[in-house]
Amino acid sequence: MLLRNIGHEVIGKALNGEEAVKKYLSFSIKPDLIIMDYRMPVKNGIEACKDILKYTNNVRIIFASADNSVEKIVLSLGVLCFLSKPFEIQELITQIGKALTKSIF
């Protein structure tokens, strides 16, 4: 709802890390940004990130999680930022703005 309201198109949602990786690989036009959670069934966010990054470095990922114990590990993967829940939506909007203006790693 929020993302659509600020002018972005949501092209996919996944309920677990494995689904996230499969969906990403299936897109012919890859998303400009992935917002990834950590605690998910089947495959967690870190494992999903690693799988996507094995496929390509040409991806922007923002991590948003209630589990801030994994922040250092997440940032070491090369994601753009880690947002610790609960966070302000303005913070998310700002980070999305920064991410989309950054060149991909």
Partner: protein, 496 residues
Amino acid sequence: MINLIYFFLNVLVFALIPLIFAKLRGTLRYILNYTYLGCLFVFSNILGSIYAFRISSSIQISGGNIAYSAMLMAILFMVVSERDLTIIRNIVYSILILNVIFFLLYQIIFIFLKDNSIVNPLNISPLLFNMTINIVIAGTLLIIFELVLMFFLFEKIKKYVKNYELTSFIYLIIYILVLILDGFLFPIFAFTLDPNLRYMIIGGIQGKFVLGLMFSIPIFIFMILNHEKLSRYIEQPLPLKDLILWPRLKLIQQIRKSDEQYREAYDQAEFYKDLFAHDISNILHNIKTSIDLIIMFRKESENLDRFNELTELINEQITRGRNMVSNIRKLSLLSDIEEDLKSIELFKVIKESIRFIETTYYNKRIDIQIRSQIEDVFVYANIYLLFAFKNILINAINYNNSQKIEVFIVISHEKRDGIKYVKIEVKDNGIGIADELKERLFKKVLMTEDRSKRMGLGLLLANKFISLFKGEISVKDRIPGDYSKGTNIIVLLPEV
């Protein structure tokens, strides 16, 4: 004839005393039983050389053998009354120590009585105290072997025979057989080189068989008068290691067990703390985001639908938080819910859990149907059965992205190992549970486990409750082989 009457009287006196003691309470019963066992042990050593009853031309039963049979019977009464196998261990240690003392004492008295300078007012023969070492060793080893064997067999029978009357009867048979075994083994060990060994064995077996039959009568009377004690003894498996483990070894084992229990409790507490913190953060985040969006949209009148959506989202998060707090509270009460199991009408519980779901999730399209070919089903449980089913249904609702959430509750009968169960299948059209997660769903949390894939307390709690009701819970795919089409949670509960 008078011989037999005296024999019966001897058996009666030895049998009456422990029967009376079995009716006493607490420490007095305990002390008197141990004291009486000590006396019987002494009698079994002494009376063998003092008198014997000629039961028939070939059967002669000594006072010592009568005392020994009574001792086995009294130990049986004591273990059943106290439900404690450490009594056997205590008796074994006592026998070992007492036999050493007796042997030394006998040797000394034998020397005294042989000496003419010692006053012997009743002219007691020194031969009465002529105890040979082989008899002492044989006697000691056999008592220990027979006691351990008898109670080992009692425990094994408990495991395989579930019928009270049959178990009691088998116990009587085991008592008689152990006595017969003693009649066979004692002459072999004590009189190995005696030329009359064969006749001693035959006489021993016959004599012990008669004693077994005689003492089975007071044992039978004990079983009738102490029906409840015997029932509890039969129902409660006792640790066989208590038969033989030294107290220090047992203490080490207990410390290790406490350490494991502590680690398990610590892991559990860490898990629940971690889960609670994570879930509360998520709930607060969702509420905060919804409120931020409401503030953002309030100026736009065409966003009225969005307001409704966001307020519903806030309500859902509060419900989620309330359920989580409720689950955490129930966890702390788990140790109390083992008692007070009673006959509960299953359909009533399931219907109440459905009403709870429909009220709580009023904003979702939910269709829950009960399909059952049986009516009036009762199970042994308590009020926490309702919480178990609530948690199962909450799981079916929360992990479901379908436009219309469908849940079918199928109730049937199932028989396993002779026990009749009620089978309750809760089938949903949710997101399902992957195979690798199914295996871990109901297992205890390990410190080393990757908790990032653990999703909540609901089913873990439901499993704990169902287990306390002597039931089982398992999870399968609604459509076999395709977990993404939904889940089938299967609950088995023993039917009343």
